[in-house]
Amino acid sequence: MADPVLKVENINVFYGSIHAIKGISFEVYEGEIVTLIGANGAGKSTTLNTISGLLHPSTGSISFLGESLAKVPPYKIVERGLAQVPEGRRVFAQMTVNENLEMGAFTQSSSSIPEDLEKVYSLFPRLKERMNQTAGTLSGGEQQMLAMGRALMSRPKLLMLDEPSMGLAPILVEQIFAIIADLHRTGATILLVEQNAQMALSIASRGYVMETGNIVTTGTGQELLASEEVRKAYLGG
């Protein structure tokens, strides 16, 4: 296999005195959907925020496209092609849908924006209908679409999604996962953090199971879905 897009090696992350991430390692290769699953508090979001540069590992290394991300500020990490759709969507509620998408393209030259806006609007026609509404007026599902579209505007080489199913009705979860699978088919590389292990594993190339700051199991999506251990702990038997 070629070099991984993202390589996380033995990172430890502390929140004050709390040892949140305990020496985990994993890789994401080009064109894969890799999922981190696990219960609430297992350290999944902390892992993503560390990769995005919002938190710093006390030891260990993270490299993206072969270059270390140590000491790189978060806004430069986005420039390098790593976008995160944060947990809880975090759209800019008082800005319009269009402005939110423009903010996603902050690192891009303004000449490429119209074309990328068209792409995002064709992927999410609902957003186009609401382009001049403020984001705060959108439903939860629409906000999730906006958060994803906003991240895509930065032309990411790796898209990280943090709990895209959170707080959404089952039908919307299906829609969102269908879009993620679509993105994957068109060649996007995705790191997906989910509590909804069933959904995540069903579309994932590979998965890692996290538990209290450790990675306890890994395998392909199908292997993990079939694994007795994983079924018991995360898939409700």
């Binding site: 995005s52 540069g53 919002l54 500020p73 978060p74 806004y75 430069k76 986005v78 420039e79 976008a83 995160q84 944060p86 975090r90 759209v91 800019f92 509620a93 008082q94 800005m95 402005e99 423009e102 903010m103 996603g104 902050f106 690192t107 303004s110 906003r150 991240a151 930065s154």
Partner: protein, 293 residues
Amino acid sequence: MTFLNFFISGISLGSIYAIIALGYTMVYGISKMLNFAHGDVIMVGAYICFYAVVRYGLNPFLAVAVAMVLCSVLGIIVEGLAYKPLRQAPSLAVLITAIGMSYFLQNTALLLWSSNPKVFPSVVGRGAFHMFNGNLSVSHITALTIIVCLVIMVALSLFVSKTKMGKAMRACSEDKGAAQLMGINVNATISMTFAIGSGLAAIAGALLCSAYPTLMPTTGSLPGIKAFTAAVFGGIGSIPGAFLGGLMLGVIEIFAKAYISSQLSDAVVFGVLIVVLLVKPAGLLGKMTQEKV
């Protein structure tokens, strides 16, 4: 006619408050802190103008430009030294630091320029326009103040709604973490906001001292407090709110001076603030912010 005269003076004084209030409100919007040193930046700006004109014989408008640049730099330095290290600190610590910074600037001014009042030369002289057979006279500085305030208001509104940096400022005001994930340099954006606010304070300083020519190290503090009041009055964090609040405060103050009592004018101004906050706690144009879980 006297009513109209008072009204125009009120709008002019209010324009100065509005320009200062814009600085308060923009900084509050992005860093959720009350920069009580903002009023003292006005005073520094006025001193820079004063020395540039009186000692170096600069054209008054060029002097204001110099003051704007230097005050913007001062704003960036104040933010970087005093507030940036407290980004994660409780808001009370930041508030006390801001009050400390205000005293620091005043006392530095006292050391550098002494407490003797300086007579500030008006940027446009002391002439006036006479209208209606001389029944209504509007001084040049009054007219200039109102025009400058309108220009600033329009320019700033366009800046935050149309430009990439302006939109980034709004994004940072809403959610700094998410803004970082967009690739926005949040620290640079905050610095720029302080620079803009402080540059506006320099303009306000020159206009204020052109209208009320006594310049002392404490010159900025009362207008600073009043402009802060104006920002709260209009809804802190809101740019149109600062504008509206400033104008209303100026008009109320001048009317109170004219028709009630000049000693009681400040009491009336703050009385109105209390009533507004009782009825509409977020201010006239402020939005009630909901804490999201």
